[in-house]
Symmetry: C2
Subunit: 481 residues, 2 copies
């Protein structure tokens, strides 16, 4: 891997250039959920496409359709697809990332302007919206491409890119794009891909790199209870069945205050964690400490850290989110709301699926409602969801990522699962039928989605080296191919 | 009562003039809750004061202070006080009413312009905002004054007026005004008042006039549960105690779906209704039918109409209003809210008081929260309230109103209590220490606060006669004075 040494050298000698490029990217406020910023998201797409082209990547900007916002038609930002390398003797890796960001205003509580990258050499941190989510990781790939291009070194693998600008707005159109490309067979953009690598999550703590192999699924519901034709004044209280009373009663039957889901059959088939799962992700108390405090420490459901981590990642959970149609303002209003809709969702783990869980949820709530014998109307609606995902960590892609981590960081990575969802992970896994690896660049304390979002300079530079090294390990590793 | 006959004759021959004056009053959009309409409320106050002056009433416009709205100082509309007659041989009656109205826009679903009185001679109804709440009744008193003034007949009693322009906005400053005037002793505006008469509520149905002698009190609370420093993503579910789960659990312990309050001691001391209470207000099934359907008919807590009416007026109730801080929009959001505030209130009946009930509510919820053994924080806050009010129906003022109703409508009135509150009722009763009578002009189907608010022409004209006749009956009746 003599080439790799040169690549690392290039990263070291071009650190300032790479940081400068990150400044450029952060300066484009590509907020996908804000219609007034839509032009910036398109600008960011073009910027990224031009960067890829500079290093010999063949690109395609794929339109993803339109949306209507307050009577105006807005174009969705395109997905930027890229391909470089077509050597049938090499493995082909698909890289996913996103170039849109969460909203940010200095007045939200930022110490510096969110769309001006603030490089603090003393602390080694770079502050700015998108620094870690997900412009830093996306630019990590550009850095790898630049190093090879500048050094005239051939890439050790074929690369395919799929970058989107709507990740923070529900990845509109992306699933369709993946399904369409897959259905084209050999003509499809993703044809021949051997595995997928996504850098869009974070270490469990601030010290140990990790490989993430599992995400929980989700199933979101609302219970709608109605009765009166319109809201009533509470002077009517005592005369009528009140929808809120029944809704609160039903919502109270779903989960215990200790987080135990009370819907019969929900835990069916969930396997007991084996020893590798129990210990590998939770190596030392000092590591989980940081994670636990990040998880709200003093309100954790258990004082045993492993139990808390397992509860968040390997067990299902049920959260009550709120009520639509009831009074939600400050102070008091003496209303008896006519129709109220209670929102809740379950986070799912294998073998749970939204379909199976929906049957159990609906049947349980309908039974409980019938027992109440009110004169109100009730229905349970499935709002949306996605299956859980767990990858095979024995796959060569994980092995390559482990070796790369050991080389670059000098540490064996944690193997982790996350409590949330990244739906595109499952779309890739299901449609392409290949292994997906989540290889994060940033740390637990980066504050993605928060004020003062940051990326450590060391994570940006070592992260760039990690992505590059991963490609070499993939190329060298013994595999079926 | 020869004079009274002339007064009735005047009402009959001046019906069109009275309706014309109501048109004028409705045309002033005196919406007290809308700062942009504040000028109209002041204009309405001046209009009313000038009307009173025309008939020899001595008036005073009392400033009630200021409020700040979006950085601007807005003057509250003044209360208009009036006095006519100082004959120590006559009884002195204090009349209360309000000249502000609820907001209304044609686009809310009105069939006609809300601030143009639409007189439908065929149905005998007059549509317009404020027609029944409360400009119609206030103008009923103007009609009585005009008749006496035009006919040069002396009023049979001394009258005092207290008209306010902030009733729909919480009667700001009015309690202070009443307390201040009372504290002035013989110099106070309300000195020497023998009883109070208020026309600001409605019949139980569309056929039978009523005298209202009771209102429920109210005690409003919020349960605030907090834990995390900020909202969490539900990917964290299973790791932490969630404030919503605990709040829903606590709210679910307050009241059964059948409306039974589950807080120990809440029903202490409430007397069983005696036969007069049980039957007098609920004369016939046909009358309660209309009331019941108005109460949401198909969702009534009982099929026994008397039980429903008693539940609404003579029993306490507890309504769950909503949750502040949780997700309340459409669709789904996967949030674990950090701090949630559950709102509920009790409607109170004697001998319940907000003070006593608050002790029971707080102690119960604190005990139940302690049993849950979570790591969250919880507090119960009393948001506000008022005592219930029940008047002595054997008082001469009620007897006079009964006789007047029989004379004008040819029917014995229902004696009713209401489920809601009119706080000024209690302020008058407590401060002046005199009997208060609620003598409604409009019907159950008038739609105060709703679209297409109306007042029947017959209720306006007979209502005017009723108010006048009541004064004569008061003057003639045998009393301690």
């Amino acid at each position: 891997m003599a080439n790799l040494k040169d690549v690392h050298g290039y990263v070291d000698s071009h650190a300032d250039d790479f940081i400068q490029r990150l400044s450029e990217a952060v300066a484009i406020p590509s907020v996908s959920t804000d219609p007034s910023r839509r032009g910036d998201v398109h600008r960011m797409a073009l910027w990224l496409e031009n960067q890829l082209k500079r290093y010999g990547v063949q690109t395609r900007a794929v339109p993803l359709g339109q949306q209507e916002v307050e009577g105006k038609i807005l174009e969705y930002p395109p997905a930027i697809l890229g391909r470089i390398g077509d050597d049938s003797k090499k493995k082909t890796i698909l890289i996913y990332g996103h170039f849109d960001v969460q909203p940010a205003e200095k007045s939200d509580g930022w110490d510096t302007e969110p769309f001006e990258l603030h490089v603090d050499r003393e602390s080694g941190k770079m502050f700015g919206r998108g620094s870690t989510d997900d412009k830093g990781p996306v630019l990590g790939w550009l850095n790898v491409l630049e190093a090879h291009h500048a050094l005239r070194i051939e890439l050790p693998v074929n690369l395919r890119f799929c970058f989107e600008g709507l990740e923070e707005d529900g990845s509109q159109g992306l699933d369709d794009l993946i399904v369409t490309e897959t259905s084209k067979g050999p003509q499809g953009w993703f044809h021949g891909v051997d595995c997928v690598c996504i850098s869009d999550n974070y270490w469990l703590n601030t010290r140990t790199p990790c490989l993430t192999y599992g995400l929980r699924g989700i199933a979101y519901y609302q219970i709608i209870v109605s009765g009166p034709g319109s809201d009533l004044h509470s002077g009517m209280g005592g005369a009528v069945y009140e929808p809120m009373t029944t809704l609160i009663s039903l919502m109270g039957k779903l989960v215990s205050v200790e987080g135990r889901i009370l819907i019969p059959g929900v835990y069916d088939g969930i396997s007991v964690a084996d020893s590798s799962e129990l210990y590998v992700p939770f190596i030392s108390p000092s590591q989980t400490e940081a994670y636990l405090s990040h998880s709200g420490g003093p309100i954790s459901l258990s004082d045993d850290k492993a139990t808390v981590l397992m509860g968040r990642t390997r067990e299902p959970s049920l959260s009550l989110h709120g009520i639509e149609g009831a009074y939600s303002g400050a102070g008091g209003k003496t209303v008896i709301p006519a129709t109220v809709s209670g929102k809740f969702s379950l986070r799912l783990v294998p073998p749970q699926t939204p379909d199976d869980i929906t049957k159990k949820v609906v049947s349980f709530i309908e039974d409980e409602f019938a027992k109440l014998k009110t004169k109100l109307k009730m229905k349970v609606e499935f709002v949306g969801g996605g299956k859980p995902w767990v990858a095979d960590t024995n796959h060569w892609s994980y092995e390559a990522a482990k070796r790369a981590t050991e080389t670059v960081w000098g540490k064996t990575p944690n193997y982790t699962r996350e409590g949330g969802s990244i739906p595109v992970t499952l779309t890739f896994a299901d449609n392409l039928g290949v292994n997906v690896l989540l290889l994060p660049m940033g740390r637990a304390d980066d504050g993605a989605h928060s004020t003062n979002e940051k990326l450590d300079i060391s994570n940006f530079l070592n992260g760039t080296k990690l992505l590059g090294t991963y490609l070499y390990e993939v190329a060298n590793i013994n595999s079926d191919k």
